[in-house]
């Protein structure tokens, strides 16, 4: 099971809520859209997913083959 942070840029309205309350501060807003600055420091806590008003950011659990 691998967890990845996914961003749907088309749905992001750039409010900045996710970035502000991200505990390790790995998100940033660039030209009104969220960007992940540092994948390695993201703990996949999914607090961004809980608070995003637009469902534009989420943590996905993928089954890893093999």
């Amino acid at each position: 099971m691998a967890k990845t942070l996914k961003i749907n840029t088309a749905w992001c309205k750039g409010c900045g809520i996710c970035a502000e309350f991200c505990p390790p501060k790995v998100l940033d807003i660039v030209r009104e859209k969220v960007v992940l600055k540092d994948m390695d420091k993201c703990t996949k806590c999914a607090l961004c997913e809980l608070r995003c008003p637009d469902f534009a950011i989420y943590v996905e659990t993928e089954e890893v083959a093999g």
């Binding site: 996914k6 309205k13 809520i17």
Partner: protein
């Protein structure tokens, strides 16, 4: 579906072809709607047995996005329509999503009487202390002296405390949460959904576009910070003075007192008697 980039929760419970929603950048309504969808999923209701009803307002757009049986009705009448649905089909889980204007101003009478009957409806008020959709008029939950387009000198009316109003009117489950406190919101929504009678959740939302701007409460992030920094739970509030809690958002469970539900009483005391041919 496969090409839509969204979490499992969103794919499962939303009409993804209707997304992104129309709400403004950072509107708290989106956060609360997602939390409600998570709670509906968590309690394991059969989706075919869920019916979400709303009135008119930004908040009342919510059911349009949610993939359940949904009814978007007229301003202030969500609870009246929901009462009809529940009486006709008591087996449904009827949920009202409404605004502070929709529920407490034009719809205030329906609100108190549904509470008085303790009818099995879960009412989630997306309370942003303003009429968002129509451009920022003050509502019954606008704090005193705050400004609105209809109160340029400040609102001189007292504020409804929706928890106290619901409690005094007879609701059996009453709670308050905010768009910042999402894990708490999900838990509270779950309990509200599982209560058999009338449940009310005063869910504090943020309208950065009108309330935030009019009252210098800032943008979406600042409004969320404000909820974070100014919320205390009911137990802590009990030990504080009136002055100390004046501008606070008091969150948590206000009342959890299961009581006989209206449709069940109606079945037993009226329908069953009529069917048996009991003479009056």
């Amino acid at each position: 579906m496969a090409d839509i980039m969204a979490s499992n929760l969103i794919r499962q419970t939303f009409r993804t072809d209707k997304l992104p929603h129309i709400w403004c950048q950072g509107c708290g309504h989106g956060v609360l709607m997602r939390a409600a969808a998570q709670a509906i999923l968590n309690v394991g209701f059969d989706p075919d047995k869920v019916c979400i009803v709303s009135g008119i307002g930004c908040s009342s757009r919510a059911p349009g996005y949610m993939n359940y049986n949904t009814l978007h009705t007229t301003h202030g009448r969500a609870i009246a329509f929901a009462t009809g649905v529940k009486l006709a089909k008591p087996e449904l889980h009827v949920i009202v999503m409404t605004g502070d204007g929709d529920a407490a101003a034009i719809g205030g009478n329906h609100f108190i009487h549904a509470a008085r009957r303790n009818i099995g409806i879960t009412t989630i008020v997306f309370n942003n202390s303003i009429y968002g959709m129509t451009g920022g008029q003050y509502s019954p939950t606008t704090p005193m002296y705050d400004t609105a387009t209809t109160a340029p000198y400040g609102n001189i009316e007292q504020t409804f405390d929706l928890c106290k109003l619901a409690d005094a009117s007879g609701a059996s489950y009453v709670a308050r949460t905010t768009a910042y406190h999402v894990p708490q919101a999900i838990k509270i929504f779950e309990k509200a959904l599982l209560n058999k009678g009338f449940s009310v959740v005063d869910a504090i939302s943020g309208c950065p576009t009108y309330y935030g701007r009019k009252n210098k409460k800032g943008n979406a992030v600042q409004m969320m910070k404000w909820m974070k920094d100014n919320s205390i739970d009911f137990k802590t509030a009990e030990k504080m003075t009136a002055d100390e809690i004046k501008d606070k958002i008091i969150t948590g469970e206000y009342k959890n007192a299961p009581a006989p539900e209206y449709c069940e009483i109606y079945q037993k005391e009226v329908i069953d008697k009529v069917l048996k041919g009991d003479a009056i």
